[in-house]
């Protein structure tokens, strides 16, 4: 990339960021702000998902589990601790669980991990429900935290920028190279001196931490949370589609996949509420068939074809 391109790209990114930051201050109406929050939410989740599952090719179906942990922790502790403290606790719990899952399954073949992640949301949901039924005797909590949508928006924006920044740095680093090698051929990776287990674990914990924080930050958006809402498997699903559509190898890929799909799902859930899940499933399958390498991969193929013609 030439100097000029880099400068232009940098300027473009800065202005985009400035606009995005200032947007909530406009009196455009709550609907747009709400949409913005949803866009940011899925942008962060999709990017976090792709950070781990993209390079390692370990498909994680556990997004809902970590998101839910974040959201539920806030629901439980939100009124009794300062906000920063609650976020920290939520983060701690998410990291602890990610470590547990990672240490048990990442040393083994990818299939075990997928299966475990598949059931993780269900597992955490059941444990939380059991706790609520037996210990607190009340399933479902009301959330009365005084945080405005704007503040949620800005927190998510900050989170998105941080995640993208971390990922960008990581890709250039040795860790990023290690991940690329692991994703290509894990046996080769171990034989060139890469500690694959530790690398995968670190990435997984990082990804899970971001998802947990996202859930925590978003919790005040609901006035009422119960385990069914917090650990809804639909989230895992939607995040997956978005990351796959956008492409998991490019930095802005997942974000590029999140934006159109969030809008699409908005339209679908409003107009076809009864068939939403069916349409979700069909969309997903269509993406697997027709855009297996994501839009980014499609573009890449088109460009390569153009070059060779």
């Amino acid at each position: 990339m030439s100097r000029l391109t880099v400068v232009l790209a940098g300027l473009g990114a800065c202005s985009a960021l400035a606009i995005a930051t200032a947007a909530p201050l406009l009196q455009g109406g709550d609907y747009w702000l709400s949409l913005g929050v949803t866009l940011l939410q899925y942008g962060v989740l999709a990017t976090a998902w792709a950070m781990f599952s993209g390079p390692t090719r370990y498909v994680s179906l556990a997004t809902a589990a970590f998101f839910g942990i974040g959201a539920y922790t806030v629901a439980v502790l939100g009124e009794s601790m300062p906000w920063a403290g609650v976020l920290l606790v939520a983060l701690g719990i998410g990291v602890a669980i990610a470590l547990l899952v990672g240490l048990s399954t990442l040393r083994l073949s990818g299939v075990y991990f997928v299966i475990f992640s598949f059931g993780l949301a269900e597992l955490v949901k059941q444990i939380v429900t059991w706790y609520e039924v037996n210990v607190t005797r009340d399933v479902g909590r009301h959330v009365f935290i005084d945080i405005s949508q704007r503040q949620i928006y800005w927190q998510l924006l900050a989170l998105l920028v941080s995640v993208l920044g971390v990922w960008a740095l990581m890709r250039r680093s040795r860790l990023g190279l290690a991940l690329r090698v692991i994703g290509d051929d894990e046996v080769v990776a171990t034989h060139v001196g890469i500690d694959t287990s530790r690398t995968k674990l670190m990435l997984f914990v990082l990804s899970a931490a971001v998802m947990t924080l996202t859930g925590a930050v978003l919790a005040p958006r609901w006035t009422y949370i119960d385990p069914e809402i917090a650990f809804n498997p639909q989230i895992s699903f939607q995040v997956l589609i978005m990351a796959l559509l956008g492409g998991t190898t490019r930095l802005f890929g997942p974000l590029a996949g999140a934006v159109p799909l969030v809008l699409l799902f908005e339209v679908l859930s409003v107009n076809f509420p009864n068939y939403f899940l069916i349409l979700l499933g069909v969309t997903f399958m269509a993406i697997i068939y027709f855009v297996p390498n994501g839009i980014a991969g499609l573009l890449q193929r088109v460009m390569r074809h153009r070059r060779s013609v």
């Binding site: 059931g119 997903f284 068939y289």
Partner: protein, 291 residues
């Protein structure tokens, strides 16, 4: 006696888990595709039995026999229509595993959507043989007993099918050695499709049997898929005997936990067992490495 309760309960549940997982292990062992939509189709079969029982007064036993060919045909079609393009595209290499997991994950949502659109999210059940029977001093629901008997009967039939028929042997050959099976004239793709069909028959049967005594809802698909997966992995992928033992083990552990600890912690018990097996014997109780 409480112990007999647990014994019979564990046997029933375990027998059913084993039956369910057998279908999945046949699919995975032969076609090398992990069908995450398995549980959702099972629930769909349960809904089918419900409709036939309540709308048309059809005994679930008859539905059971209807479900076998329907389940077979459905999963066979799923393989041919939805999964074959992936097999062709990836050349049945390691990418197939990832792509098929993703596709079946999507398929599970599709089927979930259909169930929810038709039935909503509530729990459903119907009454069938809901009277207690006295077994060795403990009272067991007749419907559970019938389910257990049929589950074991079907497993025996499956065993005979796979070991005493040419078709079954061809299917097993592909499970053992997909590379070399073609050399003895076995069409691997056709065998995989048939294996999927067999899995479909078993899951349909399981769904019907479960509907006889367990209240179910659309969202339970994930739970069943998960338990089936756990049993398959614990028993060793593609290993029929391992599946049987692992299924019974899971059923017993779950019944014990439900009786002596807390019925709300069954999933936690499943996962703990799964974790233990993974940590101690990652190739499954009877060992066949998952690629």
């Amino acid at each position: 006696m409480v112990l007999t309760d647990v014994l019979v309960g564990g046997l029933t549940l375990g027998g059913l888990y084993a039956l369910t997982a057998l279908g999945l292990t046949v699919q995975y062992g032969v076609a090398r595709i992990l069908n995450l939509a398995y549980g959702q189709f099972l629930i769909a079969a349960a809904f089918g039995a419900f409709v036939l029982a309540t709308r048309f007064g059809l005994s679930p036993i008859i539905t059971l026999f209807l479900a076998l060919p329907v389940g077979f045909a459905l999963q066979w079609t799923v393989y041919q229509l939805l999964l074959m393009p992936l097999v062709r595209r990836t050349g049945a290499g390691p990418a197939l595993e990832t792509d098929s997991i993703l596709l079946t994950f999507g398929l599970s949502f599709l089927v979930l959507g259909i169930c929810v659109a038709a039935f909503g999210g509530d729990l459903y059940s119907y009454s069938y043989l809901a009277y207690p029977v006295d077994i060795l001093g403990s009272k067991v629901s007749a419907n559970r007993l019938v389910a257990m008997v049929f589950a074991f009967a079907m497993k025996a039939v499956l065993y005979l099918l796979l070991t005493r028929t040419r078709l079954g042997t061809a299917v097993r050959a592909v499970a053992v050695s997909p590379c070399f099976a073609p050399l003895v004239g076995i069409d691997v793709r056709a065998a995989s499709a048939i294996a999927f069909g067999i899995g479909g028959a078993l899951l349909a049967a399981s769904g019907v049997l479960i509907s006889m005594f367990l209240p179910f809802s659309a969202s339970l698909g994930v739970v069943f898929a998960m338990k089936a997966l756990i049993v398959v992995i614990m028993g060793g992928a593609g290993n029929l005997m391992g599946c049987l033992v692992a299924g019974l083990l899971l059923g017993f552990v779950e019944t014990l936990v439900a009786s002596y600890v807390d019925p709300g912690l069954t999933v936690a018990a499943n996962f703990t067992l799964f974790l233990l097996v993974l940590l101690l014997r990652p190739t499954g109780l009877f060992g066949k490495t998952v690629r």
